[in-house]
Amino acid sequence: MNGDIRLWFRKTGPLRFTSHLDFMRYFGRVLKLSKLPVWYTQGFNQRMYFAFGQPLSLGMSGRREFCDLTLTQDVSRGEILSSLRKYNAQGFEVYDVTVPEMKLGEVAFGEYEALYLPQNASPQELFGKIRDILSLPEYLIQKKTKARGGFKTLDLMPYLATIEFSETPEGVRAHMILPCGSGRENVSPKLIFEAIRDFSGYSIFQQIERIGFYDAEKESFR
């Protein structure tokens, strides 16, 4: 493989508690140690060029994350993968490398799987509260905007309505596909979690994983 490539990786386990910025620094070291012929930026401070699709928020695992970079020489797929396995933190694994078919900017949706574990209520009670929310006409929240200190009102209901909730012995599982990506309305799964937590009044512990990306046509991101 040569030129632009897309690395696919998992970020799970304790590693999910590293922030995006820290993770990028770590990833840079992984690349450096791999000795792959990665293209460097050509400015005064030359740096390896690589770009992540979407940051993972602190505490969220990622099962199908990607990172784009450019190789300056031909390297086989097998060599790329094995060279990236030399230096791994617990919970990090590059499991595939492909030639990008879609542009990074085409990411339009993220797919998530969350498990809500109520601490002071039963799964049935929580599931009941969720059904109550879904019966409302709208669910307005104040969402922070990029401008400093700015807020705007957002109706979460159109998003809540698309989520598949299911009761499990431990809690409530939620499968959701939410808009993300640059230049679009972003709806973080954190907003969904907070809505459920605030509406139910329960103390809830959340485990959440991002499992994939889609483009605007809901085609799996490749």
Partner: protein, 616 residues
């Protein structure tokens, strides 16, 4: 990961401090391990992970297949609160096991203000604080590092101290422990045997008696413990253990780069500097060994910066040769080289080409005192013409921000000396107008930042008998200096005198201070090195409640004949030499550096011949 722990990680700042799992961290199978060592750094992860000592010991201990060394850092106050709330004891990052499961719990004592964290970490780990309350041959609490030089204030809590360099002696003690356990002997017997190893100080084997005025009357060894505890050193730094790799943190730490120790000791003999006397003699590594060690670390960590570390790296005798050797491979690997500090006389245009020192933003030098007289007193051989020459080079190279470090409250200091600090800074600013090239001046005006710390007299220095200036005097001198700064191009920052006072109390304290530390832990005091947590008032309350006068330790001039609480510890530098140096200081007489002329400190008689040194 423990479910309770996982939950609280979502609620604390920077949870990655508490998760472990970093590349190059070492996991072993508990069943295959005979001795487990919890290496505790009594400060935050970001600070502790930057510390070179832990990296050396972590590698050295873990190189032994049946020993397992793990890391423990002090949780920040938000995490501590959650841990206590949820009944989670302090645990080691590798296994997640609490301190109570370790054979050894070892602390490195880097500075006095971390003592409260040592006690708090033991408490959070569920370990009884006092050595006497830990009866079994298990959970042995040990400590080393610079503050072990006068370990008395913390002696009640520590079973044994390592004096000097620990690469060998730590392992010898672990071997002894293993043997003692197999033999089924008591903890007391283990300690008695350990005290026979050079470099081991078992405080419970020394009886301290006091005079009516509160000074030490005598230190009496018992059970065959030696009267003097001699420090250990590594005579050949080329052969001394150095880690092949570093645990690489997942979050940004203070010194996030490869660090290579280029030599131990220092040729300078600045009279205020404890490290300069305690780490004698000078022992350099050879350039080939340094280069190979750097390469190994870079190739296993992905670091792209190497810091060449020592007490004064520009004094390394083969610096040019070393830099050339490093550049034979670092350029191709896009790795830069930096020096942690620069001496005023060690700065040249040729050097700046080979190192990425501080970015063009700022350049820091430490003249330490404002007048030549004061610099002669402290034996800091920096002159005004040298500083002038150095800043001229710096300006010519494009720098326009200069930072100058000083101390106030030095012995014999007058207000004239304090004013001299402002004058020296003004000289640097004026030099910019006179000599900075036009193209540099076009980029903006010069900023000279003065930074002052308050002098803290330390054991094993020529100033170990000196009083510290009272807080009011220090504050008055700070105000006086601030008033003497007249140019807007000169800025003045000062370190809080309150923390320096507490540091001075514990630096030269005795065992009576153990009660103060115990009470401080009970009252929830910790993280004294952090402004958000430090309160001198709370400490003074404890001193008042226990009827202990802190000024007795900080502000009292000791007689040369007084028995000092640390007199039974032997760092190889003779007390008569320190006294001679102190008397020379009073006369403002300088002592030549060790490379120019031997000052007869006694170290070579004490520790024998070493490799790569300067001693005759």
């Amino acid at each position: 990961m423990d479910k309770r722990l996982e939950k609280i990680l979502y609620e604390v700042e920077k949870p990655a401090r508490y998760i472990g799992g970093e590349p190059n961290s070492i996991l072993k199978n508990k069943a295959d391990v005979s001795v487990r060592f919890a290496f505790c750094f009594p400060d935050l992860y970001e600070i502790g992970m930057s510390h070179l000592g832990i990296k050396i010991f972590y590698g050295a201990f873990n190189a032994r297949p049946d020993y397992w060394c793990e890391r423990v850092y002090a949780p920040w106050i938000d995490m501590e609160e959650k841990m206590r709330e949820n009944g989670i004891p302090l645990y080691a990052l590798e296994s997640g096991d609490p301190l109570t499961e370790f054979d050894f719990i070892g602390f490195t004592l880097q500075y006095e203000l971390s003592y409260s964290n040592v006690l708090n970490m033991l408490d959070l780990g569920g370990i009884p604080l006092k050595s006497a309350d830990r009866k079994e041959l298990f959970n042995i609490v040990v400590a080393g590092g610079p503050c072990a030089a006068n370990a008395e204030p913390i002696a009640d809590f520590i079973d044994l101290f390592f004096i000097g360099e620990g690469e060998e002696v730590d392992l010898e003690v672990m071997d002894l422990y293993k043997a003692c356990r197999a033999e089924g002997v008591s903890k007391a017997e283990f300690l008695r045997r350990a005290a026979q190893i050079q470099g081991v100080y078992v405080p419970s084997l020394y009886e301290i008696s006091y005079n009516a005025d509160g000074t030490v009357a005598a230190v009496t060894p018992k059970d065959g413990a030696p009267a003097k505890i001699k420090k250990r050193i590594m005579p050949d730094m080329d052969a001394s253990y150095y880690p092949e790799t570093f645990v690489t943190p997942l979050i940004e730490i203070v010194h996030d780069r490869a660090v290579e120790e280029v030599f131990r000791g220092c040729i300078r003999g600045c009279r205020f500097c404890q490290a300069g006397f305690m780490n004698r003699p000078v022992r350099e590594k050879s350039p080939e060994v340094i280069s190979a060690q750097c390469r190994s670390i870079c190739e296993t960590t992905g670091y792209d910066e190497i810091s060449l570390s020592s007490l004064s790296t520009s004094d390394y005798s083969k610096l040019d040769e070393l830099l050339d050797l490093l550049h034979t491979w670092t350029d191709a690997e896009k790795i830069s080289i930096s020096l942690p500090s620069l001496r005023v006389d060690g700065f040249s245009a040729a050097l700046t080409e080979k190192i990425k020192s501080v970015r063009k933003g700022g350049l820091t030098f430490a003249p330490e005192a404002g007048t030549q007289r004061m610099r002669d007193v402290i034996n800091k051989d920096v002159t005004e013409p040298q500083l002038r020459k150095t800043v001229d080079i710096a300006f010519a190279e494009g720098w326009n921000k200069i930072k100058l470090y000083f101390m106030i409250g030095l012995p014999t200091e007058t207000y004239e000396d304090v004013a001299g600090i402002a004058e020296l800074a003004q000289m640097v600013a004026d030099e910019y107008d006179l000599h900075a090239p036009q193209n540099v001046r076009a980029r903006g005006n010069v900023t000279v930042t003065i930074s002052t710390a308050s002098f803290v007299p330390k054991p094993f220095t020529p100033f170990q008998w000196e009083p510290q200036d009272p807080i009011e005097t220090l504050k008055d001198k700070q105000m006086f200096l601030a008033k003497n700064v007249r140019s807007r191009r000169v800025r003045y920052n000062w370190h809080d005198a309150d923390t320096s006072f507490l540091e001075a109390v514990f630096a030269r304290g005795d065992r009576k201070l153990g009660a103060v530390l115990l009470e401080a832990q009970k009252r929830g005091i910790r993280f004294d090195g952090w402004e958000q947590c430090f309160s001198l008032e709370r400490w003074l309350e404890i001193f008042r409640d226990l009827s202990i006068d802190p000024a007795f330790y900080a502000n009292r001039r000791r007689n040369f004949d007084e028995v000092l609480p640390w007199d039974h510890i032997d760092y190889g530098v003779s007390k008569s030499f320190l006294r001679r140096e102190c008397e020379k200081a009073y006369r403002a007489e300088i002592t030549a550096n060790c490379r120019e002329q031997c000052a007869g400190c006694g170290i070579i008689a004490s520790c024998g011949k070493v490799k790569g040194g300067v001693c005759p």
